[in-house]
């Protein structure tokens, strides 16, 4: 099965407030908040670590969640955020997402 790599879009703004990650997409001003588990996945979305590894190390180990359920939930979460242009998804490693696009 091919790996899935995820990276944060350069068009987003994000900040943690009281344990919830606020995320806003500058292209259409859509605004989201992520719960603790989603925030852990979001913060680990470095474009280089496979989603399966993120789920194992950031979700299953830290939140005591069933691995299959966690993987399924994570895939749904990634699909939702990628639809809104918040996360970039690829079967290949992605560029460093911490740097905004250069002109």
């Amino acid at each position: 099965m091919p790996e899935t790599y995820i990276a944060r879009s350069s068009a987003i703004a994000a900040r943690l407030l009281a344990g919830e990650m606020m995320v806003m997409n500058s292209t259409d001003s859509t605004f989201f908040t992520l719960n603790e588990v989603a925030t852990a996945i979001w913060q680990a979305a470095d474009g280089r670590t496979p989603l399966r590894e993120i789920v194992r190390s950031q979700v299953c180990e830290q939140f005591d969640i069933d691995p299959d359920q966690a993987q399924s939930d994570a895939e749904q979460f990634v699909a939702d955020l990628s639809q809104h242009g918040i996360l970039l998804v690829s079967d290949q490693p992605l560029r460093d997402p911490s740097a905004p696009e250069q002109p």
Binding site: S10, I12, L17, M22, S26, F32, Q102
Partner: protein, 366 residues
């Protein structure tokens, strides 16, 4: 309440500075007749200092960051600051006159993921706009820049300040905004200069003209509701606060001075001498601002408008007391609803007393 509204309320309740307005310079290439700033450089923060401030603001939980001035693009390092801010994942808004923005700058702003650009435009007539900015050709350059930015898909807002010089141009400018496919806002507020000089207040439009603004459906979605008489004041209203200034919002000047708001010149600390969070958490001035509830306001606490008034504590402060009324907002409440405010009634009762005192000598003569 929207999700964004809920998070903003949470930040307010927790005392998190979710939004900061940072002026990076007071220098400007325009000399707008109504501007409240001086345009000299009295020792602006360096690139490194501002980057350090941005680091501190991100650490403090700031999400919404407005870069403004002066004209931000007069700083040669502005894109470096912008890039740093976006790397820290702020939601960035830029306020500018846009005369220095061309295609390349618009592309770069877009690439950096800036949320919104707010641009000052005062008329659809070049001669009126240029007379207000005192920069010949500024209208053409600004409109051209807006077209560059729209071509990049950037969200642009035209911000108009209604004053005596452009009082008849709002409709024309609104049409131009629609043609450019940008958002349009209109503000009839002229504020005193930051040094307290009130000479520019003569540019305010007469109060009698405010109802036309408040009943303009293109500006106010529901004029009937907006202009309705105030609802009876409740206990909850009296436990409420005026605005987010000092609670979840603050202003930082190009010299590192921290204030509750850009319109509230109460010095509350300087970021060159203290860490931002030390000022935010421990400044006696900010603590005082935060302590003031509606029930603590002199005059306003007994006003029927107290729950719906746009009372600005900064304007009240410039008028003499941060707990007192802001006459400009009293005027707005009155012309919005037709119902006089407690402050207006107090003043009119004082005015009635004054002539009696003046004629007292006549009584003595009689």
């Amino acid at each position: 309440m929207s999700l964004l509204g809920e998070m903003s309320q949470k930040a307010f309740d927790m005392g998190v500075p979710i939004s900061v307005h940072l002026d990076v310079t007071y220098r400007c290439n325009e000399r707008c007749v109504h501007c409240y700033l001086d345009h000299e450089d009295h020792g602006e923060m360096t690139t490194a200092e501002i980057k350090d401030v941005l680091d501190q603001l991100a650490e403090a939980g700031v999400f919404f960051l407005t870069f403004s001035g002066g004209e931000v693009f007069l700083r040669r390092d502005f894109f470096e600051l912008l890039e740093h801010a976006r790397r820290l994942l702020f939601n960035v808004k830029i306020k500018t006159n846009a005369v220095m923005i061309r295609e390349a700058e618009a592309q770069r702003i877009r690439a950096l993921g800036v949320d919104t650009i707010q641009i000052s435009v005062y008329s659809h007539r070049p001669e009126v706009h240029d007379a207000i900015t005192k920069l010949p050709g500024s209208f053409q350059r600004t409109i051209k820049a807006i077209r560059f930015m729209r071509a990049q898909g950037l969200k642009v807002t035209i911000a108009n300040v209604l004053m005596t010089w452009n009082r008849h141009d709002s409709d024309g400018l609104q049409k131009l905004a629609a043609e450019l496919d940008v958002h349009y806002t209109l503000d009839p507020t002229i504020t005193p200069k930051m040094d307290g000089n009130t000479s520019i207040l003569s540019l305010r439009i007469p109060g009698e003209e405010l109802p036309e603004v408040f009943r303009n459906r293109a500006l106010v979605p529901n004029p009937e509701e907006f202009c309705a008489p105030p609802k009876p004041v409740s206990e909850d209203d009296l436990e409420g606060y005026s605005c987010s200034a000092g609670h979840s919002f603050c202003y930082i000047s190009p010299y590192g001075d921290v204030f509750p708001c850009v319109q509230f010149p109460l010095p509350s600390g300087n970021i060159r001498r203290q860490k931002f969070m030390d000022i935010w958490n421990h400044s006696p001035e900010l603590k005082e601002v935060r302590s003031i509830k509606a029930k603590d306001l002199t005059t306003c606490s007994s006003c029927s408008h107290v729950s719906s008034c746009t009372r600005c504590p900064g304007l009240a402060y410039m008028e003499g007391s941060m707990r007192g009324p802001s006459s400009a907002d009293c005027e707005k409440s009155y012309y919005r609803t037709g119902i006089p405010t407690a402050n207006m009634l107090r003043k009119s009762s004082q005015a009635r007393i004054t002539p009696l005192v003046q004629i007292r000598p006549l009584a003595v003569l009689a």
